[in-house]
């Protein structure tokens, strides 16, 4: 296994893990069916690209047209990608998450994903249209030699640090009272609102957090690939991530990681290996990949809806501390 291949595999795994942790927060924990998830990854990627590229008037870049081009040093493009992903969630969430019922929210988000892709694909002056952005500078370009093997491993390291940060955030959310309220909203939104929870505010916060994490994943991806075009973020990419979260285990961060390794990474590898064997007509294997992903989702929802690693049951340990006096329930309110 050569260095480039190994680094490639690890970086894709890291990006998919980050994306699945974010989607798990939204879909697995909170029940927000974000069918436009990939748009947030794309927004982060475009943002990181524009923040690190020179303006399109620069000599080597004049074959593309795009807005901006700020040549900011690392890690600003990655941070910017996360911020843009989070900011994009604000207007989209305010339109979609406020008044619509959950199933219509999912439809609206799916349509948003298709529209966004079509618009970017056709509006060339914005982000170079269908051809997309190319020659995106890699992080620390100019400071270190980016064409060496050790740079590949440096990139793996930067990705690993990002995975650790996202894991930390996701774990704190899932294990907190805030995460518990999100799960309650997922179970029964009307009952949660009757208990003083504001469903719109809860959905908005997790939409923004998930959007920011998705944006970061896009920034990491574009820094490695150095290209980004509408064909890399078609809406089926979101479905693959949903398959990963469903297979791994909705609501469980470990499950999300496992799902990321089994579905996007695993399928990519299997497809690549089978592709070498020249089985059937040229497009047979990629087409079968989609059939398999569809069957995988159906199979798990049917036979093992909780996934490989189901959501944990939270038990409060120790000898029960019981407050015997319960007349406080009708007493003065604390606020």
């Amino acid at each position: 296994m050569n260095t480039y291949y190994a680094a490639n595999l690890l970086i894709f795994a890291g990006v998919d893990i980050i994306a699945c942790l974010a989607l798990n927060l939204q879909f697995g924990v909170s029940g927000v069916v974000n069918f436009s998830f990939i748009v947030f990854q794309a927004a982060g990627a475009y943002a990181a690209a524009l923040l690190s590229m020179p303006p399109d008037t620069a000599p080597d870049y004049s074959f593309q047209i795009y807005v901006g081009g700020y040549q900011l040093p690392f890690p600003l493009p990655w941070i910017g990608g996360a911020i843009v992903g989070g900011l994009l969630a604000l207007p989209l969430g305010l339109v979609v998450l406020r008044r619509l019922r959950a199933d219509y929210q999912a439809i609206a988000l799916l349509v948003t994903s298709i529209i966004a892709n079509t618009v970017i694909n056709n509006a060339r002056p914005l982000l170079n249209g269908a051809a997309g952005l190319a020659l995106v500078p890699q992080p620390l370009d100019g400071l270190v030699n980016t064409s060496t093997n050790s740079y590949q491993y440096l990139y793996v390291g930067l990705t690993a640090v990002s995975v650790a940060v996202v894991w930390f955030v996701a774990a704190r959310i899932v294990n907190s009272p805030y995460g518990r309220t999100l799960r309650a909203m997922r179970e029964n939104e009307l009952a949660a609102s009757a208990l003083g929870k504001n469903p719109t505010a809860l959905k908005m916060t997790i939409f923004v957090v998930g959007g920011a994490i998705a944006g970061l994943s896009g920034a990491i991806l574009v820094g490695f690939l150095q290209v980004w075009a509408p064909s890399t973020w078609l809406y089926p990419e979101t479905i693959i991530l949903f398959a990963a979260v469903i297979v791994g285990g909705r609501g469980n961060n470990v499950g999300a990681i496992l799902g990321a390794l089994l579905v996007p990474v695993g399928f990519e590898e299997v497809t690549r290996l089978l592709g070498r064997m020249n089985i059937g007509p040229p497009n047979l294997i990629p087409a079968l990949e989609w059939v398999c992903i569809g069957l995988l989702i159906l199979g798990f929802l049917w036979f093992r809806p909780k996934g490989v690693v189901p959501e944990q049951r939270r038990v409060f340990p120790g000898a029960p501390a019981v407050e015997e006096e319960t007349r406080w329930v009708v007493g003065k309110r604390a606020h």
Binding site: R172, A184, G196
Partner: protein, 255 residues
Amino acid sequence: MPISEPMLGARDIHRHFEGMHAVDGVSIEIMPGRITGLIGPNGAGKSTLMAVLAGTLPALSGTIVFQGEDISRLPAYQRARRGLVRTFQLPSEFGQLTVLENLLVAAPDNRGESLLGALLGKRYWMPDETRLVAQARGLLKRFGLLPKESDYAGMLSGGQKRLLEIMRALMLRPRLLLLDEPMSGVHPSIVNEIAGYLEQLRDDGLTILMVEHELHIVDRLCDPVIVMAQGKVIGQGSMAVLRRQPEVVDAYLVG
């Protein structure tokens, strides 16, 4: 507030569904410290009125004053935070949460319930959590469900789910509890148990408005009783008085 002031006053509440008058100009007052019953035949508009009072359904018109404040335009979650808490006719437990977690979700004032609080970590919110766990366990003990605290709420029996919903509402320290058929789907042997708990809560000073079909329960717990039929209030008073009113008898008490 003086004891003679109503806890909640609703005036001229209207709510239509597809042209049908589900609630058609209802005005009621709920006095503190009592269990007020709400009875009437199916389709009388009882559940709709409960939903409108709690804010889970918007009213077309009318005003609702709760503890001296006009809450007509507040969303459900803000009414709940002011102490107006409802339960549902159908079981509405958070099935994939444990019994104890169901109660903890309902508790206000947990520093870990905001995104920022969650990110600050256990050390920031654990004191609140510990205090609320002890309170929740106190309620579970009082209602006999302490051994079930770690069970998924979805696995409870019908009667236990009802109790869980009442306890969950109590975690908010309600001033007025709206119970929508708290005995429905409950084994008869548990009905008396739940009735006993509601009497205790009333004696502790809680105000309750409850929709109920079982007349022996209404007889035992509720005074006064409001009778609705076809979206309107057709009678009000103690059961003894209502039994002598022909229109109430026609609409509900027989047939």
